[in-house]
């Protein structure tokens, strides 16, 4: 909000240079900057949401007085409305719901002449972003800005039956507000009504039917206190926020409701002429809004702040803010909270904050907590995440971070059929844009978009990974931490990314895992697989399906894998135990067999291990050949075998015997032919 310096100066003594004033306010109150509007110096202040009392010139003036140790000016002559019952001839007020409206006051002015308000007034309204309308409406807005009390002026002749009834809306009631919109009302909404219909949305906006226009002759001026919760609820239900509702929803100054009414009434007379009818309508039930008394303990204050502030200083600070000392006994003070702080000062800690900020945060010592907390383990996935990240960085992969938001068209790009698990997404009830309507069930979407983005910016090859959560809405909302890896290269093959997977699984401590060929809608049907640890499905790996590649506009080869870090971190990995180094020499033998291509390597390897027995220390893959030298549909697999006996040197003959056994098994089981 903008506060013209000249206006502030009418209410408070400003003794410091303006730049210093902005700094003082920033350090003790709110962030403030010196600026200009309509050629006049102003303070641009970020009023904090709990300080509704500062949404007014007087509110900030009070803060200036307290923080710069000056005084408010007492130069405005206090005008009061004359007591009397004349007003009863013009208007009667009934408040049906005193909980929602504990205070309703009204004054009456007859014979006004509507015209533009004085230029000085208009300028001040414009500075605050309020449009000048006419002298009467402007007067109410002027008082709103200066005193923080929203008021509403009605064209009194449009109030049917001379009655004001403050009540909740009847079902299906409507009102056309000042902005020309027809509003549908519900039974929790508070309205100001006349004998027939609602004439204003209480505390938010007046009705257009009774608005003050050029033809208006008589004014009914309202000043009230509305329950903050109710105003807020109605305001958000209708999506209608106004200068008035903004202040009511934070709680206005209960006592000021009367003083502001008097000020505004006289101001209207000053601008528009007319006669002020004697008396005022007053329906007040203050029982829930009696001034608060709060106990403050000096010792507690020092304990909480970590610094001792002298009792006289505490007293001075709080009194400078308008708190009234009621009693002081030993260590305990009792303060009366001023009406304008009703909204935010509720308990002792609130007073302690006032003391701390006025004293100055910069004066506090910098200490460290003396807490001995037994160190707890980080979440299970934390260490795993760091290890795998470092592993991938070592392999030359760069880390990506993507939004977890997507749209169902992204799922279509992955060629997911209608019933696919991933379509059970968590959907936003109030998305902001149509390309971000759901939470992604897989990190693939982000990764593939990154690859396409890079490709289109001349980074034709890229190796990326991301660690993040994916979301599904099955019977309940599920979040799962996953890792996705992608390689985009002119020439790449499956075994490159498989190597990465093997390293990842080994680093994670998994000894027993298997890769099984699988069909997934987004993977190449001949080059896709699922990853298992025992029977637990950890994820998938493979070449991206050509159709999906096309959908994302990718041109080079793309290989991907995605695994659940959540699942991996839950698998118990055995403690590392040293195995004594072997004492006796190895015997090496190579073995090459020609088999039907459809026989998986893993089966052959399994058979070799099984038939060789305990002295086969290891069997490693050497080569795979399916060129012209082997028959069509067949392939030659070569292995490197290492034999070793733990207690003595193996004899050649023994090795030859085992070797033969292996060959025989392969021949029998797979019709393998020695090469």
């Amino acid at each position: 909000m903008l506060y013209p310096i000249e206006w502030l100066k009418e209410l408070v003594d400003i003794k410091v240079p303006l730049k210093e004033l902005a700094e003082i306010l920033t350090n003790h109150c709110f962030e403030a900057n010196l600026t200009e509007a309509f050629g006049q110096p102003c303070l641009d202040v970020e009023v904090l949401p709990n300080r509704g009392d500062c949404l007014s010139i007087i509110g900030l003036a009070r803060e200036i007085a307290a923080t710069t140790k000056t005084r408010l000016k007492n130069n405005k002559s206090k005008k009061i409305l004359v007591e009397g019952s004349e007003i009863k001839k013009y208007i009667s007020v009934e408040v049906k719901d005193k909980k929602l409206c504990p205070r309703y006051l009204a004054s009456f002015i007859t014979g006004v002449k509507i015209s533009p308000s004085p230029e000085k007034i208009q300028k001040r309204l414009l500075t605050a972003g309020i449009r000048p309308i006419n002298n009467v409406v402007d007067a109410t807005n002027y008082v709103l800005l200066e005193r923080g009390q929203p008021l509403h002026a009605f064209d009194a002749d449009k109030i049917t039956g001379g009655k004001i009834i403050v009540r909740t809306a009847a079902p299906d009631e409507t009102i056309i507000t000042l902005d020309g919109e027809k509003r549908q009302l519900t039974p929790e909404m508070l309205v100001i009504a006349d004998a027939q219909k609602p004439v204003a949305l209480a505390g938010i906006m007046g009705g257009s039917q009774s608005e003050v226009s050029l033809a208006t002759k008589n004014i009914l001026l309202e000043s009230a206190f509305f329950q903050p919760y109710s105003i807020r609820k109605t305001s958000s239900a209708l999506g209608l926020r106004t200068e008035a509702s903004m202040r009511f929803e934070k709680g206005v100054d209960f006592e000021n409701v009367l003083t502001a009414l008097a000020e505004a009434t006289f101001l209207i007379q000053e601008f528009a002429g007319g006669r002020i009818v004697a008396g005022l309508a007053n329906v007040t039930d203050q029982k829930d809004y009696l001034p608060r008394k709060i106990r403050l303990r000096v010792k507690k204050t020092a304990e909480i702040l970590g610094i001792s502030i002298s009792t006289p200083e505490i007293k001075r600070i709080l009194e400078s803010l308008g708190f009234q000392l009621i009693s002081a006994k030993n260590d305990e003070f009792c303060f009366l909270v001023p009406a304008w702080r009703w909204g935010d000062i509720k308990r002792e800690i609130d007073l302690i904050e006032e003391i701390a900020r006025l004293y100055g945060y910069e004066k506090f010592p910098e200490t460290l907590p003396k807490v001995n907390v037994p160190v707890k383990e980080a979440p299970q996935t934390e260490n795993l995440t760091q290890e795998l990240r470092n592993l991938l960085l070592g392999f030359g992969f760069n880390e990506a971070i993507n939004f977890s938001l997507g749209a169902s068209k992204d799922l279509d790009l992955l060629s997911l059929p209608a019933g696919h698990t991933w379509r059970q997404t968590v959907v936003l009830k109030n998305p902001l844009t149509e390309d971000q309507t759901l939470l992604c069930p897989t990190l693939l979407i982000g990764l593939l978009k990154n690859l396409a983005f890079n490709q289109n910016r001349q980074n034709r090859e890229a190796a990326l990974f991301e660690i993040g959560r994916t979301f599904l809405n099955k019977r309940q909302y599920e979040e799962e931490l996953k890792l996705v890896v992608g390689i985009m290269k002119k020439e790449a093959d499956f075994f490159e990314i498989k190597n990465i997977l093997e390293n990842i699984l080994e680093k994670s401590g998994l000894k027993n895992f298997s890769i099984q060929k699988a069909a997934k809608p987004f993977l190449h049907p001949g080059q896709g697989a699922e990853i298992f640890a025992g029977s637990e499905n950890l994820g998938f790996i493979g070449e991206l399906h050509p159709k999906v590649k096309e959908n994302f506009g990718l041109m080079n080869s793309v290989f991907i894998l995605e695994i659940s870090l959540e699942k991996i971190s839950q698998i118990k990995t055995p403690q590392k135990i040293f195995k004594p180094l072997p004492q006796f020499p190895q015997v090496f033998r190579d073995l090459a067999v020609v088999v039907d291509k459809k026989t998986p390597y893993s089966q052959i390897k399994g058979a070799i291990k099984e038939s060789a027995g305990e002295f086969l220390e290891s069997v490693a893959f050497l080569t795979y050949y399916d060129g012209p030298q082997v028959p069509q549909g067949f392939a030659s697999l070569a292995f490197s075998l290492v034999f070793r006996h733990p207690e003595r040197t193996l004899k050649d003959g023994e090795v030859a015997e085992i070797h033969q056994k292996i060959i025989k098994t392969l021949e029998q089981r797979f019709e393998a032919k020695l090469r």
């Binding site: 003790h28 962030e31 949401p49 709990n50 919760y229 807020r232 609820k233 909480i304 702040l305 970590g306 610094i307 308990r347 800690i349 609130d350 302690i352 904050e353 701390a356 900020r357 945060y361 910069e362 506090f364 200490t367 460290l368 907590p369 807490v371 001995n372 907390v373 160190v375 383990e377 980080a378 979440p379 990240r389 960085l393 070592g394 392999f395 030359g396 760069n398 880390e399 990506a400 971070i401 939004f403 977890s404 938001l405 968590v426 959907v427 009830k429 109030n430 902001l432 844009t433 939470l439 990154n450 983005f453 890079n454 910016r457 980074n459 990326l464 959560r469 979301f471 909302y477 979040e479």
Partner: protein, 341 residues
């Protein structure tokens, strides 16, 4: 006498041949010629029986002398030739060392990860544990338990995505404070890094998805000075020991007193520039003592326990520290961006 002449002849021929010997192959041939099974010296030794008995010892000596000489000379030649060959090989192996290296380059972790890790390190040294929470949160954990009731103006501070009945995408990492306090009795000392969501349009400085780190300490005797000291320590670790820090009053529904902490603008050293909107300061943290209402909602005695909490935006810190001017860059993952960090 014949033998002696023969010896001299052999010696002479050998001297010429060893001189002319150009490579290891020739040297080996020479060795075989003279010292091999059918070599000249070997033959001589075999035929020593043809020498007069009285001359044999003397002759034998001479032959052995020559044999040793030849052996030595051949050895030496071989040594010379080997060394020569080695030197030759060495000079042929000379390369241009200024050509670039070959092989994979190291990958880069995301700048946000780097900031997260720096922050985690700082708090690890202070003895904090890492805590986590769900990104889909209940209205209770995200707002109500944090002293932000329904229909309270404070909710305006957090534009929210709604997911289901009373479920939201968490708007800050503060709900993790509640989750920790539900599971753990004081003393508590945790940080909770994580992803948060705001219903804000994507632009230079705002994104609907971003990251924060939350801190919470609850124990007996925690003071506002402890909060100040902890945050000052943290900020100096991240931005350097020389940076000025400013604590000023603020408002959060779940802390009281509340504060915002600014760091002197590293771009203009506090003089005022575009990055800091001319103020010379950049706001980095929100913090405060945990509001007694929150402690009480958690079933804790607010007379006995006090605590402090703080929160910082990771993107904001990264943008400030690295001079990045567009938040969208973090999520485009252009290699030319990632490789800078």
């Amino acid at each position: 006498m014949d033998q002696q002449k023969e010896l001299k002849l052999i010696q002479g021929t050998f001297s010429q041949e060893i001189l002319a010997c150009k490579n290891l192959k020739e040297a080996e041939s020479l060795r075989i010629k003279y010292l091999g099974r059918a070599g000249l010296i070997t033959e001589l030794l075999k035929n020593i029986k043809n020498v007069a008995a009285s001359d044999r010892p003397a002759f034998g000596n001479l032959v052995n002398q020559l044999k040793n000489e030849i052996e030595e000379k051949i050895s030496q030649k071989i040594k010379e030739l080997t060394e020569q060959a080695q030197q030759q090989k060495i000079s042929e192996e000379s390369i241009d060392v200024t050509l670039p290296g070959r092989g994979p380059k190291f990958g880069h972790s995301h700048p946000l990860t780097q900031i997260f890790n720096q922050i985690k390190e700082v708090f690890k040294t202070l003895g904090y544990t890492i805590a986590e929470g769900p990104e889909i949160e209940t209205d209770y954990h995200n707002f109500e338990a944090l002293n932000i009731p329904q229909h309270h103006p404070a909710r305006d501070m957090f534009s929210t995505f709604f997911v289901g009945d009373n479920l939201v995408l968490r708007t800050h990492t503060s709900p993790v404070q509640i989750r920790v306090m539900e599971k753990q009795k004081p003393p508590i000392k945790v940080i909770a890094p994580g992803r948060v969501y705001r219903r804000d349009a994507l632009d230079l400085t705002h994104a609907p998805v971003f990251h924060q780190v939350e801190g919470l300490v609850v124990a007996e005797g925690i003071t506002f000075g402890d909060l100040k000291g902890t945050l000052a320590y943290f900020l100096r670790q991240i931005f350097g020991p020389e940076r000025k820090i400013r604590f000023r009053p603020s408002f959060f529904p779940f802390t009281e007193p509340s504060a915002e902490v600014d760091v002197e603008c590293i771009i203009c050293n506090g003089q005022g520039c575009r990055v800091c909107s001319g103020t010379g300061w950049k706001e980095i943290l929100g913090a405060g003592l945990v509001h007694p209402n929150v402690l009480e909602i958690m079933g804790l005695d607010s007379e006995k326990f006090t605590g402090f909490a703080f929160g910082a935006g990771i993107e904001r810190i990264a943008m400030f520290k690295y001079g990045i001017d567009d938040i969208r860059l973090f999520f485009e993952n252009d290699l030319k961006f990632l490789e800078q960090f």
